[in-house]
Symmetry: C2
Subunit: 146 residues, 2 copies
C-alpha cells in the first residue's frame, strides 16, 4: 500500500537535474517502480508574454531541438526507455500534472530551490507541482542554501 | 549520496497522519534512516488572532494535554523513541524547519491536501514547509481527490 509503482521524474534539464534524478532512481530501484521522465518546454510567449518583441519561432525551434537532444542524453544515462520520456510543450505545472495523471504516476519527483519571500508569491515549479497534484510529490532540494 | 539519514515526519495527528506515517516508515526502513516525529500545536492566538474573545488558557491547556497523549500513542505505534518525538508550540512551518535543521534531517515528510486556488494564496502547511526548507520535502497526498 505504501509502495510507489510509477515515478514521474520532472526535470528542467539543467545541471541540477542530476541530483534530482539521483533520488528518483534510488526510489525507483527500491520500490521496483516504473521510472518516467518528463520535461516541459515553456513557450516563449508564456514565459515573457507581451515582452516577446517579434516572431521568435526560429529561436523557439532551436530551444526545442536542444531540449530534444538533452532529453535523449539524459534519458539514456538514466536508462529510461524512450517510450517513458515525455517532452512536452506548455505550462510546466499543468503539463506535469497531466502527464502524471495520464500515466497513473503515484509519485512526482521535482527539484526545488526552497525559495521563499518573493519567489513564494511568484510561484516556483515545485510549488506549482505540489498544488493540484493528485499524487505524492517529492521536492528535492537543489542549489545552495540561502 | 542519494541516501536519507534522518527523516522528520511532521503530522497534525488527524486520521490522515497514518497514511503519511506509512510512507515515512517505509522510506526510513529502506534507507535505514533515523525517524523523528514532530507535531506543532498552533497557539489559538496565532490561528484566530483578534477573534479570540477571552482568555482561553484553559482550552489551550486541554488542547496541549490531548496533543501530548495523541503524540505518545502515535509515536508508540510507530515505535519511535520518546527522545525522537518533538511536540512544539508555535507556527507549524517555521517550527518544522527549525526542528529539522536542529536535528540535521535530510527529508521532511508531510501530508498534503493538494489544494489549489484560494488555498494556494492562503498557504497550506505542505506548501509552507516546502518553502524555505533546507532539505528535501515529501508531500504525501491525503484526503479525497478534488
Amino acid at each position: 500500500m505504501a509502495d510507489y509503482k510509477k515515478i514521474m521524474l520532472a526535470v528542467d534539464l539543467t545541471e541540477e537535474s542530476n541530483a534530482v534524478a539521483d533520488r528518483a532512481v534510488t526510489l525507483a530501484r527500491f520500490f521496483e517502480a516504473d521510472l518516467h521522465l518528463v520535461h516541459v518546454i515553456e513557450p516563449l510567449s508564456l514565459a515573457y508574454g507581451g515582452d516577446v518583441p517579434m516572431d521568435l519561432s526560429a529561436v523557439q525551434e532551436q530551444i526545442q531541438d536542444q531540449a530534444k537532444s538533452h532529453m535523449k542524453d539524459f534519458g539514456a544515462r538514466l536508462e529510461i526507455d524512450q517510450t517513458k520520456q515525455h517532452l512536452i510543450f506548455g505550462r510546466p505545472e499543468s503539463e506535469i500534472h497531466r502527464v502524471a495523471d495520464e500515466e497513473g504516476a503515484d509519485l512526482i519527483v521535482v527539484g526545488s530551490h526552497g525559495r521563499h519571500g518573493l519567489a513564494l508569491l511568484l510561484g516556483s515549479t515545485a510549488n506549482g507541482v505540489l498544488h493540484g497534484a493528485s499524487c505524492d510529490v517529492l521536492a528535492v532540494r537543489v542549489g545552495k542554501p540561502e
